[in-house]
Symmetry: C2
Subunit: 175 residues, 2 copies
């Protein structure tokens, strides 16, 4: 029995319905308090590219869509191809900014890892986890778990400006 056949025997796993052909796990949405800080973190520290921004001035919020691609020149320059490309990608990050939260000293979002728990983290895989973590240290990024903390020495967790956990791992080191 193949590995896939073994894992398909897990209770709950169903055969794929042809009606789901073309479905794409497109994005994950997180609310952020201070969009300038978040954009700085995701673009400068992690290398994301901001592809789209949508402002809803009446409802006082804005949406920001980011992708992490090595070659941003693959992103179509003009609409509608640009938007269609964005919504057909896997691994898009959507940040929601409710206007004004950044000016409220008391305001904070919930990272999901204290009660009430739910969402846990996002993860960015990197070619060299030691080098990546050394660079994060140099940049003053906050860590939830350094490589040297705890039992699992091959993964780290950094924190984005809202305290959301970002797991950092190296695919080749974790098998």
């Amino acid at each position: 029995m193949s590995l896939q056949e073994q894992i398909n025997a897990t209770p709950g796993v169903a055969a794929r319905d042809a009606a789901t052909h073309g479905f794409v796990f497109n994005h994950t949405m997180l609310r952020v308090k201070d969009i300038a800080k978040s954009l700085d973190f995701y673009t400068r520290v992690l290398g994301f590219t901001l592809v789209r921004r949508r402002d809803f001035d009446e409802a006082k919020f804005s949406l920001y869509f980011l992708v992490l691609v090595d070659d941003p020149s693959q992103i179509p320059a003009e609409e509608p191809a640009r938007g269609q490309w964005l919504l057909s990608q896997r691994g898009v990050l959507e940040l929601t900014h409710n206007h004004g939260t950044e000016s409220d000293a008391e305001f904070r979002y919930h990272d999901g890892n204290a009660e009430p728990r739910g969402f846990g983290h996002i993860c960015v895989s990197v070619p060299d986890v030691e080098a990546a973590c050394a660079r994060f240290e140099q940049l003053g990024v906050a860590f939830q778990k350094r490589l040297t903390d705890g039992r699992m020495k091959d993964i780290a967790f950094i924190k984005d400006p809202d305290g959301y956990w970002v797991e950092i791992l190296q695919p080749t080191a974790r098998v």
Copy 2:
């Protein structure tokens, strides 16, 4: 000025650091109460493939990694290639199951959309949003927002077994 140049002028957006080359937004992790129900939802209703399961019996939790790909034959059959492939992909969904929560009638996770807010939703884009939503109705899937609800007639939100919101949209309809 190109669209990309305009959007790059958003406060906080930084030029890409070459040190982030090869970074991949790999996965999003959600905790789930009843893994069999969640696997049924993500595989049968949405078409995900379960690629890896890791059991931590001493710590009483298990991790499940799923991808949504049209051709599961691209998934390497054997380790270590399989794990390296998985952790190099964009758009992986990791479900964490803390053993026993499924037997606790009172237990529930927090979806992030009531206070305290934070995480908002994941999104699956589909080739035909009307057909996809009609199928979800037929399958008895819970809706947070039908296409006909509210102002935005081109997006729907369904709910997974823990109540996490899953946005459903059609890339070509939303430009």
